[in-house]
Amino acid sequence: MNSIDALYAGFVSTLPAALLPLARSLPHALGLAPTEQASWSDVFSHPVTLEAPHLFAAAFPGAGPERVRSAILAHALSVIEAFGTDRIADGQVRVTTELTQLLVELRRGRDAILEELAPGLGDVARAADRETNEAILEENALLRRLGAATFEEYRRISLAKQAVGFPGSLALARSAGATELEQELVRRTLAGVWLGLQFEDDATDWEDDWRRGGGAWAVSLARRRLESVSDQRADERPTEPDLVRRRVHRMRVLHSMLRGARHQYRTAWRYARVLGATSLVRWAEQRMKHLDVVIPLEARHAGYVVRAMKLAPWAREVLT
């Protein structure tokens, strides 16, 4: 069994019996997996998403394997809880008593682990929950009204959305006696990781986001860019898919988002290297290498990254 699945199973075994069926099939219940049997390790393609503290382990050998495991579980519970809260907030998942109770248990479990690792981190995690939720509300409001957005706004809101992704790794660092400077390096590394993933995903999946009706960052960024080049407000808000796509392509925002992601991965790589977080260094290198191939193609053929994603299942099936 994958380590994250074993850790989650250990947590589930501590839950009241009434919550066990839901807890065991939570990836499916949250709409993140197609079958009830899917485990958390099946859901995400990047280990950093649920196991970020693991990738910092080499930087803090004093923590020892047990505290690394605890930090991974705290981080994973935090992220899973945030997915649940978000899915309820945007109506993708029906609220039930069991789900509400399970989310409470996820937070309780996370806070207990964090407090044991580093007293005070439970409060940090609860503040992070609020920051993430507020950022999601701000993002939804902006994107749904098709508001024009600058890259600075995009970065600010995106970083706030990722607040829940920090406490687990910080707890690991503190438990190992990390200095203030080292903790700041952890924060900067994580900011690069989360923003890089966010920008890359938002560029690749923007058409799906748009189709779901909640707006998309690519559209809002394109709108702002159009205003700046035409020196006037882009009052026209096209909703016809082809027109929207043409605007996004013409404004080259996908290319800018991918370059932004590349820059963030480079930032993560730089700070991870200073920390000696070798696994994260390697992971960031792989992301940069991937984008070094994709960015020039997106520059030459606008929308390349979206089409590549749509054709990826076929390419995997037939071309490999």
Binding site: A33, A38, D205, L297, H301, R307, K310, E317
Partner: protein, 104 residues
């Protein structure tokens, strides 16, 4: 044309890769490809219907134009596979690559 170049051009795998690349590089082609696939009727019958044959012939003719010839044509099975992925967005892997980070 050398024997090697001719062999490469006639390689079905190379032809499919060229089609894949051409779709990646041009949104209009991708859209037209998707539209033609959507017109291809789905059927459980073993024999391809006249209508399906007609759509497939048109699709293959367009692909031939995009690739400047040297394309043997997609079979009925290949068109069905493309259709399930591009039009129906049915993913033929165990799990889809879910969004990594921006849901939370």
């Amino acid at each position: 044309m050398s024997a090697l170049a001719s062999q490469t051009i006639n390689d079905p795998h190379v032809q499919l890769r060229r089609l894949y690349t051409s779709l990646l590089e041009e949104q209009n082609r991708f859209d037209e490809f998707k539209q033609l696939l959507a017109l291809y009727p789905v059927s459980d019958a073993e024999e391809e219907s006249d209508e399906a044959q007609g759509v497939r012939a048109k699709l293959n003719a367009r692909i031939n134009e995009w690739l400047c010839g040297h394309f043997d044509g997609l079979s009925a099975a290949q068109v069905t596979l493309w259709r399930s992925i591009v039009v129906e967005e049915r993913i033929n892997v165990a799990l889809s690559p879910w969004k990594e980070s921006n849901v939370y």
